[in-house]
């Protein structure tokens, strides 16, 4: 535990000099995410520790290898939380991995993703240069926002050493309502509720039921519960956590699991025979053997994109191909951060 910056920097410099690819690894719990990378692991787990936590400033800074569990426990001790509610796909998940993967929990439409609360980073670029962008303040427009660019970049632009995040108070009250509704009715209900100032923090449809998570001031949650109706779910947290971490029975499959990102009110697509709409319809988990090309064409027509989240059999590319102009730009950017292409080559887009 502690600050291993110097050692990490040294390893990066060497790898850069030798042109040897590296794969930054936190808890290695999301190795399945993105294209597989053939590279030497660069473990971050020992580079850990909370560097600064100022509850009344709503800021936490921690080294990238800090276990998520530790961060969450410290925040909970002060009645606060990570707004993006990162998914945990295995033991040892780290804060740096959560940010680099860019993934967010069921509250995403209301509470944002890592990029929304990422205030600053310390990182090593592909040459092993130690760089710092952003900081610990809420608003900062000096220079390009290189920090937020790291969220979801899957470690292809740099090795995150330390991240500073905006943290928020936990809601005073939370409840989950369950309504027996078919998919189409559920979607209509979600649409209607999202257009009202309801204290929604989750909305998904699973097994003929609409699950709604309410979170906020007690008075508000009670008022909306009365207005919406349905059953109140006991142990509501464990439902949302199991959804977030893919521990619901829906996810127990050997087939390909797709993640569709869509305008929330998109009608059910043909490829969605076996589907779990989350984020009030903006994220849909789909288990499907539809050929990738056909599925992606359908999703693109609807204004979204589709990602192979977990591969079944077959060799689909995990991420949607970028338009040529955009791909060229991605490559140019990558080259500026990592001239020898040693950081997670190919994980996010083809080299």
């Amino acid at each position: 535990m502690g600050d291993r910056t110097a050692e990490l920097q040294e390893r990066l410099r060497e790898a850069c000099a030798e042109g040897r690819p590296l794969r930054p690894v936190g808890g290695d719990s999301k190795a399945f995410h993105g294209n597989p990378v053939q590279a030497e692991p660069l473990p971050l787990a020992g580079h850990a520790g909370i560097v600064n936590y100022a509850p009344t400033e709503l800021v936490l800074s921690a080294r990238a290898g800090t276990p998520l569990e530790e961060v969450q426990a410290v925040l909970a001790g002060q009645g606060q939380q990570l707004p993006f509610d990162p998914p945990v796909f295995g033991p040892g998940a780290t804060l740096g991995g959560a940010v680099a993967s860019g993934l967010a929990g069921p509250g995403r439409p209301w509470s944002g993703a890592p990029r929304d609360v990422l205030l600053g980073v310390r990182m090593l670029d592909g040459r092993g240069q130690l760089l710092r962008f952003g900081g610990e303040v809420m608003k900062n427009v000096a220079g390009y926002d290189v920090s937020r660019l790291q969220a979801g970049a899957l470690g292809t632009l740099g090795v995150l050493l330390e991240v500073s995040l905006k943290v928020l108070p936990r809601p005073a009250c939370e409840q989950t309502l369950v309504l027996e509704l078919e998919r189409e009715q559920a979607q209509a209900r979600m649409r209607e509720l999202c257009r009202q100032p309801a204290p929604l923090r989750g909305a998904c449809h699973h097994h003929g039921r609409l699950y709604l998570r309410l979170a906020g001031a007690g008075a508000s949650v009670r008022a909306w519960r009365a207005r919406i109706g349905g059953e109140t779910l006991a142990e509501h947290n464990s439902f949302w956590q199991r959804l977030r971490d893919h521990r619901l029975d829906f996810f127990q499959t050997e087939r390909t699991l797709w993640r569709l990102s869509l305008p929330p009110n998109t009608p059910r697509l043909a490829c969605e025979q076996h589907s779990l709409p989350d984020w009030a319809g903006a994220q849909r988990w789909v288990i499907s053997d539809t050929p990738a090309e056909r599925l992606r064409a359908e999703v693109t027509r609807a204004g979204g994109h589709a990602e192979v989240f977990r591969r079944g059999s077959g060799e689909q590319a995990p991420f949607q191909a970028l338009d040529p102009g955009l791909l060229a730009l991605h490559r140019r950017l990558k080259e500026r951060f990592d001239p020898r292409g040693i950081l997670n080559p190919g994980r996010l887009f083809p080299v």
Binding site: A217, S261, L327
Partner: protein, 491 residues
């Protein structure tokens, strides 16, 4: 008109632009160029070589292709309300106004978004969404005038950012025309897009990476109720503490603003908001949400403010009073403008806990420079707007005001903050960038710029200083033992 090389160049470019735009939208006469000579920072002025006003994205592309072929620099302009000289034209460059791209293309209440052209005014989006019970959250004080394209380019904030975020948190997709005239779509119809989060990189990039030609913004339901409390303090440090106390209470106010004595006095004299002018500082704290929730929270806020030493706490009794409380705050800049021939608005952000120290130092500098200062503060997120009062006609005062401002920004960096929270670097704060960033980071910024704009045609000379410039600036500002660019030559 004598035919200088500049005139020849202008005529040549005008001829080319008129092949793709209607003649009346290519401006070349001095009287036509004059309105574009500055933005909201009138201390800097230049006449552009030429002004073009394309009607749509295709025309923007055509203009950019010509500029690229002719290697002529381009400065984009929205409403020109920017406060850092970002839209200041270049004498040898094209000023590209987005004013005619002012259509709201689609309001989609079921998908909670609106697709708009970049020249649409910020407030117009909320007005178009209102019939659906929705609004666009970021609300800069300039929202009746500034454009969404300018908001994206500056990552504009407003008085409700603490809870609802900045521009960057309220965008879904962007369309960009590159320096080469290529059109790129960034993001998707969902909450994320494939690849890098380029919309985060582009937001706040000050027109340096591309021209934004379409923006899809996220809309939110209008809260059922909002209520504001006004608290008076006899000591500004107590007001600062009260901010921390409210947050420690687990309350996330929709807005949390502070004004010091000079600024609240000026605002009171201007709009008669009902502010207690004998206070050393006031706080405005707004909570929003459901009726029940707001009643519960405003009572907690009130108690907390009293416990933190407020001498008086008032809650707005009705919507009219709430609007009045805010009117004073939103009119703070022009109000200060009335009590001084000129004022210079700064925009640093600091970790909130350093507020007392920073305010004390600003007061001391005010003595030192012999110029008055008034402070307006987005207290919730630590974004400080010191307004320096000066008289541009008095010899040396502008220079003193700028020196004073520069020192404030360096102070913000010293306490762990930043030189700009929401107004951008532009030309104004380009030297202070050298205080904030070491050469390696600046070099990476230039590399990013080159990845988008290899010929450096978009808003050159703004936002990111060259290393040489920093070396010169460093030579003027050597702090004991802390020379930022020791390895660069000095001239």
């Amino acid at each position: 008109m004598s035919d200088s090389p500049r005139d020849t160049r202008r005529r040549h470019l005008a001829r080319r632009f008129r092949q793709v735009l209607e003649a009346e939208y290519v401006l070349t006469r001095e009287s036509e160029l004059r309105p574009y000579e500055c933005d909201g920072l009138p201390a800097y002025r230049h006449l552009p070589l030429i002004v073009v006003l394309p009607a749509d994205a295709a025309q923007v592309q055509a203009v950019m292709r010509i500029c690229h072929e002719e290697q002529v620099p381009v400065v984009a302009r929205g409403a020109g309300t920017g406060l850092s000289g970002g839209a200041l034209p270049l004498e040898d460059g094209v000023l590209l106004s987005l004013a005619r791209l002012n259509r709201i293309l689609e309001v989609d209440p079921d998908n909670l978004c609106a697709r708009v052209q970049p020249g649409v005014r910020n407030l117009a989006i909320s007005e178009a969404a209102r019939p659906h019970g929705l609004y666009y959250a970021p609300d800069p004080s300039s929202q009746i005038a500034c454009t969404i394209g300018g908001n994206v380019a500056e990552n504009a904030g407003g008085v409700h950012c603490l809870k609802y975020g900045l521009t960057v948190n309220n965008l879904l997709a962007l369309e960009l025309v590159t320096a080469e005239g290529e059109r790129l779509r960034i993001g998707s119809g969902g909450l994320d897009g494939p690849g890098y989060d380029l919309s985060a990189l582009l937001t706040g990039s000050e027109g340096m990476l591309g021209i934004v030609v379409e923006v899809t913004v996220r809309l939110l339901p209008i809260p059922a109720r909002a209520q504001v409390a006004l608290a008076a303090f006899d000591d500004i440090e107590k007001a600062g503490q009260a901010v921390a106390d409210i947050i420690a209470e687990g309350i996330l106010p929709a807005g949390l603003e502070m004004m010091d004595q000079p600024s609240l006095q000026a605002a009171e004299d201007f709009v008669h908001a009902g502010y207690p002018t004998d206070a050393a500082a006031i706080l405005l704290c707004e909570v929003d949400g459901d009726n029940e929730e707001v009643s519960e929270e405003i009572a907690r806020v009130r108690q907390r403010l009293l416990d933190s030493g407020a001498t008086e706490v008032r809650t707005a009794q009705d919507e009219a009073e709430r609007a009045r409380f805010w009117a004073g705050r939103k009119a703070a800049f022009p109000a200060v403008g009335r009590i001084s021939p000129d004022y210079y608005c700064m925009d640093g952000t600091i970790p909130r806990k350093h507020l007392p120290r920073v305010l004390r130092k600003i007061a001391a500098m005010s003595q030192e420079f012999g110029l008055r200062a008034a402070n307006v503060f987005h207290a919730g997120d630590g974004n400080l707007h010191p307004l320096i009062l000066y008289d541009g006609n008095a010899p040396g005062e502008l220079e003193r005001a700028e020196a004073f401002g520069g020192r404030i920004l360096e102070l913000c960096v010293e306490v762990g903050g930043t030189i700009t929270g929401e107004h951008g670097v532009g030309l104004e704060k380009i030297d202070q960038m050298c205080a904030q960033f070491p050469p390696e980071e600046l070099q990476l910024f230039h590399a990013i710029k080159a990845a988008f704009d290899p010929r450096g045609l978009l808003n050159p000379g703004k936002a990111i200083p060259t290393l040489n410039r920093c070396a010169e600036f460093g030579a003027m500002h050597v702090k004991a033992g802390d020379l930022r660019f020791p390895h660069l030559e000095r001239f």
